[in-house]
């Protein structure tokens, strides 16, 4: 046995943080980028223009902040848990993203798309019943 109940608790807690802040970050980025609109990035001036519009958007910065919290939680949990465990387990975030996109951004989500999101979440449940670590510590 190479994992304890406390290791499980820490893992679930940090995955919970990832599930909240990852989708929130994506939705905020989505809102910010929709306001900026489709910008070409083929030439250096276009790319610079794109970058400057991103860096002056408050919504984008809020999104970056949320994703920074997500990234920190992700980094910490990866210090002990397998990548192939953490990545699918955190995919509940996909359901959360769809919910937030629907309620905050008023995006139209077809029943089939909801079904796809549900399948993604079911895949997560299957993965969640595997041990967090399969390699030795350190």
């Amino acid at each position: 046995m190479n994992f304890s109940p406390s290791l499980h608790f820490k893992t679930y807690l940090l995955i919970f943080v990832m599930v909240i802040f990852g989708p929130l970050g994506n939705v905020l980025l989505g809102r910010g980028m929709k306001r900026i609109g489709a910008v070409g990035v083929a030439t250096p001036p276009e790319a610079l223009n794109f970058l400057s519009r991103i860096l002056t958007s408050g919504t984008i910065w809020l999104g970056i902040g949320s994703l920074a919290i997500f990234f920190l939680a992700n980094m910490l949990v990866l210090s002990w848990a397998d990548y192939s465990y953490v990545q699918p387990a955190s995919s509940v975030a996909y359901g959360m993203s769809a919910l937030l996109a629907h309620f905050l951004l008023h995006e139209v989500i077809t029943p089939m798309r909801w079904m796809g999101v549900l399948l993604i979440c079911l895949g997560v449940l299957v993965v969640g019943h595997t041990p967090p670590r399969t390699t030795g510590p350190g």
Binding site: K34, S79, D82, T110, L119, G123
Partner: protein, 125 residues
């Protein structure tokens, strides 16, 4: 076509970046102290690991690709499509990090991929 390239970058560079970060954090060892000062110490030590810098560069590439796609398409389409990185992640975990990906994990990853396909087929706008 440009959207396709951006998706490839999100999935490829994003997964590669996370694998590098995972490798860097494994070199650091399990984090047991969660006090803010200790966490700052962890971040500083992590930044001394070359794999972390490789990971951050790849993840930055994926991040800007994500922004470019989000300026053109809805969050409810873009985010599920990026779940295709799960297949790439399981392969990378197995072959690059030596993790044992069990048949049950593979089944879960497969379901996630089927879910993404259904999301794409359900594109109604």
């Amino acid at each position: 076509m440009i959207i396709f390239i951006f998706y490839l970058l999100i999935i490829g560079a994003g997964t590669g970046g996370e694998l590098c970060v995972s490798r860097a954090m494994k070199e650091l060892g399990e984090v047991k102290d969660f006090r803010p000062a200790a966490l700052v110490g962890v971040i500083i030590r992590a930044l001394r690991v070359p794999w972390m810098w490789a990971g951050l560069s790849l993840m930055a590439t994926a991040f800007f690709s994500l922004l470019a796609v989000l300026s053109r398409q809805n969050v409810s389409l873009v985010v599920p499509v990026t779940a295709l990185s799960y297949g790439a992640g399981a392969l990378g975990g197995k072959f690059l990090l030596g993790e044992q990906v069990t048949s049950r994990r593979w089944a879960g990853v497969l379901m996630v991929c089927i879910g993404v396909a259904v999301v794409l087929m359900g594109r109604g706008n």
